[in-house]
Amino acid sequence: MPPSFHLLADAPAQLLPARELMAFTLASHIILVPLGVAFPFITLVMHYRGLRRKDPAALLLARRWSAVMAVQFALGIVTGTVLSFEFGLLWPGLMGRWGDVFGIGFGVEAWAFFLEAVLIAIYLYGWRRLKPRTHFLLGLPLPAAALLGAFGILAANSWMNTPRGFTLDAQGKPVNVDVWKAIFTPMFGPQYWHFVVAMVLTAGFMVSGVYATGWLRGRRDHYHRLGFALPFTIAAVATPVQFVLGDSLARSVFHKQPVKFAAMEIVWKTDTRVPEYIFGRLQEDGSVKGGIRIPMLDSLLAGFSVDTEVRGLSSVPPDQRPTATQATIAHWAFDVMVLVGSALVVLALWYGLIWLRYRRLPASKWFYRCAACAGVGAVVTVEAGWVAAEVGRQPWIVYENMRVAEAVTATRSTTLWVMFGIVVVVYVFLFGSFLAVLLSMRKRWRLADAQHTAGGPPPAPETDAPYGPRGPLPVGRGRPRRTGDGPADGDGPVGGDSPVGGDSPPAGPGRTGKGRR
């Protein structure tokens, strides 16, 4: 029997469901993270443009994106709460032993997140009543809060990769904790910047992809062009930067976590002139099946010289390295990330060259077809990068200090499988509803836009009323706009003193309108 099967057999029964549950919930949460971190930033840029150039289309886009953000941020909060519970429900051994060494990052994150939740609430609900300038300025710290939150999470994760800031006593308990060293571990810097830029470009591609689809379907007015160009430009600037950052992160892994690097590149024997495999499957005996073999490239990439020695998986005992299957998974994830990432770089260069040469958006249908897929592609790179990082660290939960099997809960595997089933059903419901809500928003807006273009009156409020009779349409809102009232008088301090459309309460005794008192 190959050694890795022994390892699996030794693992407690609850390890598999615990791992699957964590992987499933984290993979789902990750889809929302780019939007949580970078969507406010993109929206603020659009908002700024709207205010600066008095562009109603830009302001409308920013408002609609806010409406999407309201739903997406809430979903991110609930799926994030699940993760913090899972630290205790699934990995009590990790937190019990190491919580006081690396938990402080989460402390920073919790407060940053708190700040972000407050600011986002003010931003999302401030459109109507706050002065446009005040509203924009109150939204401005949002990206900083998001960066601070990412700081905390990445500090914790990079600590798990290169744990520092403690010594072990005779019983193997961590003592002499140095918080500063535990936060700024060797992997922290490279991981952090790689993560932040990944979030920005993914959010940019996701948002612009929606409008690229619109372009393909013939919606090419100013509104759609702006909705495409602004987020795509942000993503296109970030993508080449990410290529450099990713390359430098891979080299950090090579230096700081050589065994993980060996898994990601399926290197079995320590050697110089190591070939690079594109895909391919590592076998238990160290041979590689399938894949494209490029001689000497791995050494060259790792140390800029074919004579660079790359440590192989066989340099450590089998119980201290990923199994052949795990190494193959990490390797494939890594390759997928690099390949899709490279494709995104090409797309960004295409966009940039057209802009430099002709000062306009690309006109090719193929460009927009690619751009429409770029959002999905970017999410794939994020997921793949995460898989490569986490699977490549196996069997360790704390690199070279604690195995995943030691950290897992003692709860019976049946209970965990049941929980896994419940969570899958709940998440399908959650993300299905999210999609349904987004699609229905899109439908409503498109309908409204079509009516606007046709010159008809906006639909009567009754058509979108969920309950009962509505209050009468107020007078006073429809007055002609005064000059100098700002680009959007709905934002004006005097513009919003009576209820409109979808906002009025169901009729009842004593209703006098939802006025500001």
Partner: protein, 354 residues
């Protein structure tokens, strides 16, 4: 010393979550009991609008509680999450469903969809505080010790039951008190009376439960009972009783801001009384604060992080609550998200000159 300070911070965070999150869960309770789609529509409308800008912030307190637990007192975190596996797992599923139900209910247009999401939100709002209360009850009655394995014994005792019911009632009470004020703010005088009577009713139930809890604690949780009947524990019990009476009186007269303060005082003092009664234990009577404390350097830094964060977050939270209670925060309506044809028709006037 630092450990004691962090323990106090943890207790304050739990109290803050009980009040902020509790108000939120309570709104869900009244959503659940509001009746059919037509009859309950006004109460639900108020719940929707009053909660929307603040519910996320209210619930972030919980994240902070968890972080202080695992960073400051890793052993406590490990023990509680191992022993209380089932109630905590159910609570987190409840939280997910609740958040999702609430956030999806608003944008869904069809009655069937709103019913489904609303029901999910409301049921989960009642179930979640019950299980959180049950978990706290298990801790208070000394059924959790480091190394205790997950079993129904840990969380299905009499203390857990009364704490669970108490948590649900307290959230209903807070929710009704806050919604009374919101009804005034949103100019719905009929709802002021509606929620005022519900607040008084839940206060009555809470009083009965408090007496029952006293008997249960006497038999089932001797350490906490001992702590509640003297010293700081007794002091906070007294504050809680006085605040509760004051809330009742204020509710009968003209409710204003003070009724909220009194209600929050009552609930927060009850939490503080429980925390004080547990001294010096985090897990009576097996794990003291000093034993559970993490590395001293970490605790100091946790204090620093808390302090810096307070300086940043408190002004932000105050601003949010201030803007909210002054009616400055309002959801984007459909008309704000529509291209306007110049503001002359239909009164949306969002994108002037569009």
């Amino acid at each position: 010393m630092t450990a004691d300070l962090i323990a106090v911070v943890l207790l304050l965070a739990v109290a803050a979550y009980a009040c902020a999150g509790g108000t939120d869960y309570g709104a869900g309770f009244w959503d659940l009991t509001a009746g059919g789609a037509r009859r309950g529509s006004r109460a639900r409308w108020l719940v929707d609008h009053a909660m929307a800008p603040v519910w996320e912030v209210n619930n972030v307190w919980l994240i902070f509680v968890l972080v202080i637990m695992w960073t400051g007192f890793p052993v406590l975190f490990q023990a509680v999450f191992s022993a209380m596996w089932v109630p905590l797992a159910l609570a987190v599923v409840g939280m997910v469903l609740r958040g999702a139900g609430f956030v999806f209910r608003k944008p869904s247009r069809r009655l069937a969809g709103r019913r489904l999401y609303g029901a999910v939100f409301a049921v989960a709002s009642v179930v979640t505080p019950f299980f959180l209360g049950a978990a706290v009850g298990g801790v208070a009655s000394g059924r959790v010790a480091p190394g205790t394995e997950a079993s129904a014994h840990a969380w299905a005792g009499p203390t857990s039951l009364v704490f669970g019911l108490g948590a649900v009632t307290a959230t209903a009470f807070l929710g009704a008190v806050f919604l009374t004020g919101d009804a005034r703010r949103f100019d719905a005088p009929d709802l002021v009376g509606y929620f005022r009577w519900r607040a008084l009713g839940s206060l009555g139930v809470l009083a009965v439960l408090a007496v029952v809890t006293a008997f249960v604690l006497h038999d089932d949780s001797p350490h906490v009972w001992h702590g509640l009947t003297r010293g700081a524990g007794l002091f906070f019990v007294a504050v809680a009783v006085v605040s509760a009476v004051a809330t009742g009186v204020l509710l009968l007269r003209v409710p204003g801001v003070w009724v909220r303060v009194a209600a929050v005082g009552a609930v927060a003092s009850s939490v503080l009384a429980w925390g004080m009664a547990q001294r010096p234990y985090l897990l009576p009577t097996s794990l003291t604060v000093a034993d559970a404390a993490g590395a001293p350097a970490t605790l100091t830094w946790l204090g620093v992080v808390t302090l810096v964060a307070l300086l940043l977050v408190v002004p932000a939270v105050v601003l949010l609550y201030w803007l909210d209670t002054h009616g400055e925060l309002e959801e984007l309506s459909d008309s704000d998200l529509r291209r306007s044809s110049g503001g002359a028709t239909g009164g949306d006037g969002t994108v002037g000159g569009g």
